[in-house]
């Protein structure tokens, strides 16, 4: 026999029973689909879970200090206060800065640029910061260095530019001691920031950062507006509660604290991610099972054509035939539900024993499983039962017995 003939036979065999072929293919489609989905979704969910556990978001705290109400009102957070927070157990870095109020950015120009066609003045946010900013915001330096405690103490007119700010000002190198004019005052650029690790502090990329003392001398940026704290892993919640008291003992409630979600809700989120994923997989396997029942019931109907003919001859109505096959597939689904629920519970217990976990079984779900199985069987039996009921008695009696 030639291979071509074999293929012809196989293809005509597949084509001879279109409904069965479609059901079988559907089973394979859903099965393979599940496999691919499983791999895809589990990778995606893995990402999701990893994202929730990301150390950077789990250890970063930002305190927003409200603008003082009156011109002469004392600042809510004094420049010595961040030092108190730094002494708290669990704080790895803290920085504080004042900045030009939103929408009132200052004109900045680089004096090195001589190209007359360039727009010289850029309106950029200007920050007066403590020297600890790179550590507290996980910022790296693309060039040069950040200013240190000495610069701050001496009120040196130096500046560090955010990466975007440097690009806008046309500064790419600092070895030629470039200067920037901030609102007319000259500052020597000693460094350019690289990437900023903390996602909530990306504004630094566009900013001009000065020692807060030097900024205070001529630019009137006002008191501290933002405090950025980085903590040890797991300490964020505690520090988020303690920091406002250390920063502003008189009115800690007045400070607005952005802290990472607490571990309990984080755990809840991860648990929801995982069980959502498993629920989808469970539902898909249920669909595969339903297609299996439908297929087998259809085969049964075709095999038992003569029996259907006999029953019709003995006075069975179409309805009686349909109900018989619906009941058969429902019973199969019910039994599958009972056995499946028991096997599932045993599996949970077995896995728990191996992993030394405490097994947790949803009683309602276990009790409802047989019903769900029966429902799946009922739905799966609809098409085969309809086929059986539609058969003509005379034709059916001639069929296979």
């Amino acid at each position: 026999m030639k291979v071509r003939d074999l293929i012809t036979e196989a293809v005509s065999g597949v084509g001879a029973r279109p409904a069965r072929t479609v059901l079988t293919i559907a089973g394979v489609v859903v099965g393979i689909g599940t496999l691919v989905t499983t791999l895809g979704v589990s990778a995606t969910a893995g990402n999701q879970i990893a994202g929730r556990f990301d150390a950077a978001t789990a250890t970063g705290i930002t305190v927003h200090v409200p603008v003082p109400t009156g011109k002469d009102a004392p600042p809510a957070v004094s420049w010595s206060a961040p030092g108190n927070v730094a002494r708290l157990n669990g704080v790895t870095a803290i920085a504080a800065w004042s900045r030009t109020p939103e929408g009132r950015d200052l004109p900045v120009r680089a004096n090195a640029v001589r190209d007359p066609t360039r727009i010289l003045d850029r309106l950029l946010p200007v920050l007066g910061s403590t020297e600890t900013l790179p550590a507290a915001t996980r910022a790296s330096l693309a060039a040069g260095r950040f200013f240190d405690a000495g610069h701050v103490r001496r009120r040196d007119r130096v500046a560090v530019l955010g990466a975007l700010a440097a690009e806008q000002l046309g500064l790419t190198r600092i070895d030629n001691q470039p200067a920037v004019l901030v609102d007319g005052t000259a500052f020597t650029v000693i460094g350019i920031l690289g990437t900023v690790g903390r996602q909530d502090q990306q504004v630094l990329g566009t900013a001009v950062i000065l020692p807060w003392t030097a900024a205070d001398d001529g630019l009137d940026l006002g008191p501290i507006s933002t405090v950025a704290i980085t903590t040890a892993l797991g300490a964020a919640q505690l520090i988020a509660r303690q920091a406002p008291v250390a920063l502003d003992p008189n009115d800690p409630e007045g400070l607005e604290v952005d802290a990472p979600p607490d571990p309990a809700s984080l755990r809840g989120g991860v648990a929801r991610d995982v069980s959502g994923l498993l629920l989808i997989l469970g539902l898909v396997s249920l669909i595969v099972g339903a297609l299996g029942i439908a297929n087998v019931t259809l085969v049964t109907v075709l095999e038992r054509t003569a029996e259907i003919g006999l029953r019709r001859a003995m006075g069975a109505r179409r309805r009686d035939i349909a109900i018989q096959f619906l009941l058969e597939s429902t019973v199969i689904g019910l039994l599958g539900g009972i056995v499946g629920a028991s096997a599932g519970i045993l599996a949970v217990v077995a896995i728990s024993v191996v992993k030394q976990w405490t097994p947790v079984v949803d009683g309602t779900l276990a009790a409802a499983s047989p019903l769900v199985g029966a429902l799946v069987g009922l739905l799966a039996g609809l098409y085969p039962a309809m086929r059986a009921a539609r058969m003509q008695p005379v034709e059916a009696l001639r069929g296979p017995s």
Binding site: A306, E307, L310, A313, M314, G315, A316, R317
Partner: protein, 221 residues
């Protein structure tokens, strides 16, 4: 009423190209308690006639009165009900359920006409005694001889207490000895007052009937 059934000028034409006239102007009357054989060669329309008589099929034209009631205009449901309660079928290939015991197979008779299970069981036991298989209740059909299988099928047909027993080539799959046992059973049933209509192409089977009707090319002669 003396006739169990009356066919008057019945035609059955199958829509094909060209249309097949399987029954042409068939007139037939069967009295209560009669044992009638219908003989004819293969393709002469015997099975088509049996399907019409058994209310499994509807004539294209003509009238069919069963126990005095016109059946050609009946609703499908009413015909199904009549078929289940008043007609017993015996087929050439027995049509037993291979996965059910002999007793369970016989109890299928009357299942669809609302006879309670307990009554069906009593009747099934009686029917099996009648066909001489009272000792085979728990057997599966696969362990019976052909003649025994056909007698189980006859017992199943008797459970509903039908007005007519329709048999399509009942001995077609049986050898001589088994044929004889089935024909002896028909004689017993006839003696007990049953109405029997047997379709066959076998002359020795037809011999045993009270009356023979020949069918050729869809016409009774």
């Amino acid at each position: 009423m003396t006739y169990v059934l009356e066919l008057i000028a019945v035609n059955r034409v199958f829509p094909a190209d060209p249309p097949v006239t399987a029954l042409a102007g068939v007139d037939l009357r069967v009295r209560r308690g009669e044992y009638l054989a219908i003989v004819g060669p293969s393709g002469s329309g015997k099975s088509t006639l049996l399907n019409v008589l058994g209310l499994l099929d509807v004539p294209s034209s003509g009238n069919y009165l069963f126990e005095g009631a016109e059946t050609t205009t009946m609703a499908d449901r009413r015909r199904t009900e009549l078929r289940g309660s008043r007609i017993g079928f015996v087929f050439q290939s027995f049509h037993l359920l291979m996965y059910r015991s002999v007793l369970e197979n016989v109890m299928l008779g009357g299942l669809y006409t609302g006879v309670p299970a307990a009554v069906r069981r009593t009747r099934a036991v009686a029917a099996l005694d009648r066909v001489g298989l009272g000792h085979r209740h728990r057997f599966l059909p696969s362990r019976l001889s052909g003649g025994e299988r056909q007698r189980v099928a006859i017992a199943r047909a008797l459970v509903g207490d039908p007005a007519l027993l329709l048999c399509d080539e009942p001995t077609g799959n049986l050898d001589g000895a088994n044929t004889a046992s089935v024909l002896d059973l028909f004689d017993d049933l006839r003696a007990a007052g049953a109405t029997l209509l047997v379709i066959t192409h076998d002359a020795t089977v037809a011999e045993r009937a009270d009356r023979r009707v020949r069918i050729t090319d869809g016409r009774i002669s």
